[in-house]
Amino acid sequence: MLRLRNISYSINGREIIKGINMQFRGDMIYSILGPNGAGKSTLAYVTMGVLKPTTGRILLGDRDITDFSITEKAKLGISMMWQEPARYEGITVREYLTLGGKLRTNKDELQEVLELVGLSYELYAHRFVDKSLSGGERKRIELASLLLLKPRYAILDEPDSGLDITAGRLIENVLDYFRKIRTTVILITHHEEIAAKTDFAYFVCAGKLIKKGFSREIVQYYKETCGRCFLAEMRVR
């Protein structure tokens, strides 16, 4: 089990994450819902080790991994897909997926994960993971990369944004695959229909955990409250 215990994060004297507690149990699919600027990505960075929490602890089982580096966390099986996946010049999709040959895999497996995200191996394996890929293509490749990596915990920061009409089915396939390989998924999204495909949801707003529960309930709550919330209006102003 991965636990965030009383996590806060401040930057320039402003508290972006305020005492958040969450737990992610094995074999479950979680979503984190919340409006723009709620602190979802920041929370993901803190969990992954990109940012150090100002206060609070991160526990993996009984182990305190708060001060572990990104690489160390990754080696313990925590991995993440960024909201804006980076571009790499001169690295092909195939090389990227196999991490330059460091990841043991084979063509069948590469083909399988690429097809699962809707890309053909023949057309994409030798393309570069650079600016020439469209935003949606890049996201799909990132999803394929995580599927191939088979982490114990996969943090997906808005994997559905920028995807076309097939996004819903794509995310469903991805979640099914993760269920099959027993990866715990932490899926950050704005889309209630995507969140509805998960088992359990956290609703975050203004850096605070507002509500948690079964996804259906939280999605309902999100729809009813978030659209009309005065905090959202304040953010616009």
Binding site: V50, T71, K73, A74, I78, E89, G90, I91, K102
Partner: protein, 328 residues
């Protein structure tokens, strides 16, 4: 492989007999460095230079290479007839197999109209300890012709290289030039490349250099967009480690109507390297458009951390990224 002919034989496809040994040494180096040895096949137009001598020459229909031995080097004329389209590259091989000395090589290349050719130039100085290589190339690309020129260097520890390439691209012509010095030490490199473009002409100059230890690199690339609707792209990537010094100057001049140019320079720095880049954009026509993009510093943080989140260490991630950046 070619026939070995006695010295002084004027026929084509010849390797002079007293030079067979050098020829064989160069071939061995190609094999060792993983270069394409099929470039020595007799379907390939080639000139092989070693020191100040021409040790091999092969012409094929449409390509005429003439060479003369000059003081400390060789001057070669390469002429491509109109309408020549080659399936194999033209191979320009310049070797220097001694430890020290000076070599000057001048290439005058003229490509006729409606031709499509590729040049593969290899500079082989594997044993150089105290060696200066001066290379001058003048390349004329005829109307509607397309030329691809790639330059690869195998350098020993002590090469001082001064290179100057001037390219002229005729109407509707296209030129792509690639220079790379990434697998061996740059030591002391001074490179100047310029391209003048006619109407609708397109040129792209790409260079990749890795500087380590106390290497010093000076690169100047300029593109003159003289013709209407001409387009040019300059792109340099430099990896500077340790105590190396690098200075890159990229210039684009927009003179022609609707000419368009882009200048891009990326320099990755590690250690105490001293690096600077100067982009210069100059427009003398309000219908011309020039843009530039430069980055200098350590490897992009987002690129690093996202690979680390997949279990690579910071060094492994950096190596992976740099390998991509220097890919040819």
């Amino acid at each position: 492989m070619w026939k070995v002919l006695p010295c002084g034989d004027e026929s084509e496809m010849s390797i002079k007999i007293d030079r067979v040994k050098e020829y064989e040494t160069i071939l061995e180096i190609y094999e060792k460095e993983g270069l394409d040895t099929s470039l020595f096949g007799d379907r390939i137009a080639t000139i092989i230079i070693s020191g100040d001598r021409i040790i091999g020459l092969n012409n094929i229909p449409g390509v005429e290479i003439r060479g003369e031995e000059i003081e400390d080097g060789v001057r070669a004329y390469v002429e491509i007839a109109d309408g020549t389209e080659l399936h194999f590259p033209i191979h320009l091989c310049t070797g220097f197999l001694k430890n020290e000395g000076y070599q000057r090589v001048i290439f005058d290349i003229t490509v006729g109209r409606n031709s499509k050719v590729k040049f593969t130039s290899h500079c082989i100085f594997p044993y150089a300890k105290n060696f200066t290589h001066e290379a001058i190339a003048r390349i004329k690309v005829g109307e509607r012709s397309s030329v691809f020129y790639e330059d690869e260097h195998i350098h020993g520890e002590g090469v001082r290289m001064v290179g100057k390439t001037e390219v002229e691209v005729g109407k509707n012509g296209r030129y792509t030039g690639k220079f790379s010095l990434t697998k061996h030490r740059a030591r002391e490199l001074k490179l100047e490349m310029s391209a003048r473009l006619g109407n609708n002409a397109v040129a792209e100059l790409v260079s990749k250099v890795k500087a380590v230890k106390d290497d010093s690199v000076e690169m100047k690339e300029a593109i003159y967009l003289e013709g209407a609707h001409s387009r040019g792209n300059l792109k340099s990537t430099v990896i500077a480690f340790d105590n190396s010094r690098v200075n890159v100057v990229n210039e684009a001049y927009g003179f022609g109507d609707y000419s368009k140019g882009h200048v891009e320079c990326h320099e990755i720095v590690k250690g105490n390297a001293d690096v600077q880049t100067v982009p210069l954009l100059r427009v003398k026509n309000d219908r011309a458009e020039l843009t530039h993009e430069a980055s200098i510093g350590r490897i992009n943080e987002a690129q690093l951390v996202q690979l680390m989140a997949k279990g690579l260490t910071e060094d492994e991630a950096a190596e992976f990224i740099i390998k991509g950046l220097l890919r040819e």
